[in-house]
């Protein structure tokens, strides 16, 4: 059997050699897997919009984007990524949108030695650093940084106890556990922790339980419009304390569906959503304004949210790294992918919509904690809250 596998290896290598000249066009291929359908379509569709705006050349080479849909399912993501690395022989992978998909695919990326820039949030995508994660990057900040900042903000408002109503999915779960840890560390007391589902027709029961615990502040963890229902129900049931939301809700639809029910929500997020309101000193302002304007122009005023930003930042990171890699090798070769990975890992002060990003062999996060800001819903608009 072992010999069989060896023969097999030789045959594959042979086929690979035969195919190599075909693949070695002077063109950079970027394979992207995002969730355009399924439950995470809310997050993935804006990313698809961002991808449509990406530049067609980088470092003087034409760039081909191959964008595929994993339907929010990790099995699909895995199959598509396998296809991208074996059939299309892409130089760089981007996506997936959600953490389960990302965790399912990074092994393929690492094994095939193809760098991957994910748009998903889970810490375990990039940590602990090992041979696989040498090749993985992400443009979202770790949830724990957001969570810690949110906890600080709550304490700044004098809160001593907090209630949590979170999504019963990967997003809600990872946020809730990060928030749990941050609150414990800061001595903030979590008096109620409830879960709800995107398709629930009512969260009254969960809200009642939270209200009964009389928290000084409430955190709602939801992505997109499903974040509305708990906040609306809280207000309806007479809760008057501050309500915090998470980056996930920073979409125009949230305001549309929420209307006056979501007035006053406080959110820790990246700078993109309120790009124009940022002080000029913010290093993210220029890139954020540029992208936000381009995006709004294409897809309608106010359509910008945090999600297309993750994809855009991935592109900005790649754009900075590709010229460096091109000096060492030609696209379509393993040497190019290695060079690209080195360039990504050693990128310093890359301008992104979330500030100046610096990577290191230890940290593959494309987001700087300093660029975290707070915004609030005022008059049904996102409003920058100065520190």
């Amino acid at each position: 059997m072992r010999r069989l596998f060896r023969t097999l290896g030789i045959v594959t290598a042979f086929l690979g050699l035969a195919a190599a000249p075909l693949a070695a066009q002077a063109q950079i291929k970027i394979g992207i897997v995002i969730s355009m359908t399924g439950p995470a379509a809310t997050l993935g569709l804006p990313q698809k919009n961002a991808i449509a705006l990406m530049p067609k050349t980088m470092g003087g080479k034409t760039v081909e984007y191959i964008t595929l849909d994993d339907a929010s399912d990790p099995t699909n993501a895995r199959r598509l990524v396998e296809r991208l690395v074996t059939e299309d022989k892409v130089d760089l992978l981007m996506g997936p949108t959600i953490s389960p998909s990302a965790l399912a695919v990074i092994e393929v990326a690492g094994r095939s030695k193809t760098p991957i820039i994910t748009f998903a949030a889970a810490r375990s995508i990039i940590l602990p650093m090992d041979d696989i994660r040498r090749w993985t990057y992400k443009t979202t900040i770790n949830d724990d940084v957001f969570a810690a900042a949110t906890v600080e903000h709550m304490k700044g408002k004098g809160a001593k106890s907090v209630g949590v109503i979170g999504f019963n999915d990967a997003y809600g779960e990872s946020w809730a556990s990060a928030f749990d840890a941050a609150a414990k560390a800061a001595g903030l007391n979590i008096v109620a922790a409830e879960k709800y589902n995107k398709n629930d027709t009512s969260v009254t029961a969960q809200v009642l339980k939270v209200v009964a615990a009389r928290p000084d502040a409430v955190l709602v963890i939801g992505a997109g419009t499903p974040g509305v229902l708990p906040q609306a129900t809280l207000r309806q049931r007479g809760y008057t304390g501050p309500i915090y939301q998470t980056t996930g809700v920073t979409t125009n639809d949230f305001l549309r569906v929420g209307g006056k029910d979501v007035e006053g929500a406080i959110i820790a997020t990246g700078p993109l959503i309120v790009a124009h309101q940022l002080p000029d000193s913010n290093p993210a302002k220029k890139a954020a304004v540029e992208f936000a304007d381009a995006y709004n122009k294409q897809y309608g005023e106010g359509s910008i949210s945090a999600f297309p930003g993750f994809a855009w930042d991935g592109m900005l990171l790649a754009q900075a790294a590709i010229p460096m890699a091109l000096q060492k090798a030609q696209p379509g070769t393993p040497q190019f992918r290695q060079a690209l990975n080195d360039a990504l890992e050693n990128g310093k002060n890359v301008v992104t919509t979330s500030g100046l990003v610096s990577m290191s062999p230890e940290s593959h996060v494309g987001f700087t904690p300093e660029s975290l800001i707070f915004i609030q819903v005022k008059d049904n608009r996102w409003t920058y809250l100065p520190k």
């Binding site: 359908t37 990790p74 099995t75 296809r83 953490s99 389960p100």
Partner: protein
């Protein structure tokens, strides 16, 4: 012998093709084939469930989940060998499926799909909310499978493992379908009551198939977990269960290779649609879902649940060759007790009394005819005697023991076999196969033995027996024709042959002569007399009075559920009440 050699050669060739494919195919095809193999395993279970047995499950993905999560947890957290994970996963799947099956399979067919929908939604949230299982985000770092020092850590290596299991499962399932158990499943799907009348314990058989399908799904889950080395709840939800069912339907729920065809069509089509659809329509959306849904509806409208499986009808597996002798004769019970004793039996349907306090006996070696106008309760009486209906009052005895409390499938063991007023044959199956099913209760080979190819001699004996009975009713020319191709009268003869194949002491025939030509009726009469001579009794319902008067020793006349008269043909012919019931003596 040669038939099985050809078959073995065929399977060997398929195995060789797959093995060679594993070495020469490009990486991406191997990847696709891996998923097709995994999906085929699950769809295969559904082929047996839906196609053969006529029940279905929307919870197969949840069984895949059990298989995947069990091995993931055991091999990642506890550091146990994946092979232990396989054993544990299959064990848990077994327990869960038995419990679920017991709960739902006694109910009529549509509760199983509903029950499985609900339980799989339930399980999805349980997977997602247990932190040790990685919650909604999932678990990664599942170790690869190892065997004899070989590590299955690449897609290409897993390909061999996946397809060894898949081909083995295909072979086993094909064996099951072409065995005594397979005939019973098809009979069950065709008409549950008939199947029970020939000794099939419907509940137990359905449970077996359900558990088998669940185990295949669990196996697929185990392979899945070690192929992706990552699990999270989303591939085990209701959407995937539906997709598995679609694969089975597209492939044709009736042939084992349909499972592979269906999985391949859906997998490849999805890959293709992903590229083509946005190009055609210029925007993204759930076009695949719409497309698949529409495809399924269209297929169902055109071809019911047989999908593209009609293609496989070109390939017909040859029946096993006959041996030199048939099944051992059923031991005849001696004694002078009547073979059937109906005592004061009544049955009401709402306000209507269908059978009212009827009593009569059928002694050994007698032909008794049951006559009466339409609606007199003759067929109801048959159903009461064979256990399909419960009695409201009275008792039924056979050979000195009471049988009205028995379940239908136990009654054939007491020497009673029957035919039906409305012909109940598996129309697509051959005459031979239909008649072979009659011997169900005389044979013992279970689905497991059949699947593993053990105890095949019995099949040869059964063929011999069935061929003998088919010759007896004079249909040897049509032995390998699908039963549906025969004229209605001939189909009635097939039913008689099937009943004879059960080796009965008492044969209950419901209008056997209807649709027969004159000469055929004469042959039937000769057959019945032969049976009588060999000690078999016959109870028959018949409207053809000339036929009845010619063969019957005794006649029981029913009218409006009551026994009107009982006596020899001569006595009945003279009975004024009978003449009146038949509106002035058409009996002449």
């Amino acid at each position: 012998m040669s038939a099985s050699l050809v078959r073995a050669a065929g399977w060997f060739a398929v195995a060789v093709v797959f093995a060679v494919g594993g070495f020469v195919l490009p990486e991406f095809y191997v990847t696709l084939l891996n998923y097709i193999g995994l999906y085929s395993l699950v769809a295969l279970g559904l082929v047996l469930l839906t196609g053969a047995s006529g029940i279905t499950s929307f919870g197969q993905a949840a069984f895949v989940g059990i298989g995947a999560y069990t091995t993931a947890v055991l091999s990642t957290h506890a550091g146990l060998s994946p092979w232990l994970g396989l054993a544990a996963g299959l064990g848990i799947t077994l327990i869960v499926s038995v419990i679920l099956g017991l709960l739902t399979l006694r109910l009529s067919g549509h509760y199983l799909p509903l029950g499985t929908i609900c339980w799989s939604v339930s399980l999805y949230y349980i997977f997602g909310n247990i932190q040790a299982f990685g919650g909604q985000t999932g678990m990664m770092g599942i170790p690869p499978i190892e065997l004899f020092g070989l590590t299955f850590d690449t897609g290409r290596r897993m390909y061999f493992l996946i397809w060894i299991f898949t081909l083995a499962a295909l072979l086993v399932s094909d064996n099951v379908l072409h065995s005594r158990a397979g005939r019973a499943m098809r009979a069950l799907k065709n008409n549950a009551q008939t199947a029970e009348n020939f000794g099939v314990n419907g509940g137990a058989m359905r449970l077996w198939v359900f558990v088998y399908a669940a185990l295949l799904a669990g196996l697929s889950g185990w392979l899945y977990a070690h192929l992706l080395r990552f699990v999270n709840p989303s591939p085990f939800g209701i959407a995937m269960s539906i997709e598995y069912l679609f694969m089975a339907v597209v492939g044709g729920a009736g042939h084992v290779w349909g499972a592979v065809l269906g999985s391949a069509v859906i997998t490849i089509l999805r890959e293709f649609l992903q590229d083509a659809m946005p190009g055609i329509l210029g925007r993204t959306g759930n076009f695949e879902i719409i497309f698949f849904g529409a495809l399924i509806i269209l297929l169902l409208q055109i071809n019911r649940d047989r999908g593209f499986g009609a293609l496989f009808d070109l390939y017909k597996r040859r029946p096993p060759s006959p041996s030199d002798h048939g099944l051992p004769a059923v031991a005849r019970r001696s004694g002078d007790q009547p073979l059937l004793s109906v005592r004061g039996v009544s049955r009401r349907f709402g306000g209507l009394v269908a059978v009212d306090n009827v009593s009569f006996d059928v002694a050994r070696g007698r032909i008794v005819a049951l006559i009466g106008p339409n609606g007199a309760g003759k067929s109801t009486l048959f159903n009461l005697v064979t256990g399909l209906l419960a009695l409201d009052a009275g008792e039924v005895w056979s050979n000195g023991s009471r049988i009205d409390r028995l379940r239908p499938h136990q009654i054939v063991g007491r020497g009673l076999a029957r035919s039906y007023q409305h012909v109940v044959l598996v129309q697509s199956a051959s005459v031979l196969e239909n008649v072979m099913f009659g011997a169900y209760h005389r044979t013992r080979r279970g689905p497991l033995a059949a699947g593993l190819g053990i105890g095949g001699e019995e099949e040869h004996l059964t063929v011999t027996e069935a061929e003998r009975q088919i010759r007896r009713v004079g249909l040897e020319k049509w032995m390998n024709e699908p039963a549906g191709n025969l004229a209605l009268g001939q189909q009635r003869l097939v039913e008689i042959a099937r009943a004879l194949c059960a080796g009965p002491e008492l044969l209950l025939l419901d209008e056997p002569a209807a649709g027969l030509r004159h000469a055929e009726k004469a042959e039937l009469a000769t057959l019945l007399r032969e049976l009588r001579a060999s000690g078999t009794s016959v109870l028959l319902v018949e409207h053809d009075m000339r036929f009845v008067m010619g063969v019957a020793d005794e006649i029981v006349v029913l009218n409006f559920g009551c026994k009107l008269a009982h006596g020899s043909p001569t006595e009945i012919r003279r009975d004024p009440r009978v003449l009146e019931a038949y509106l002035g003596g058409s009996v002449k």
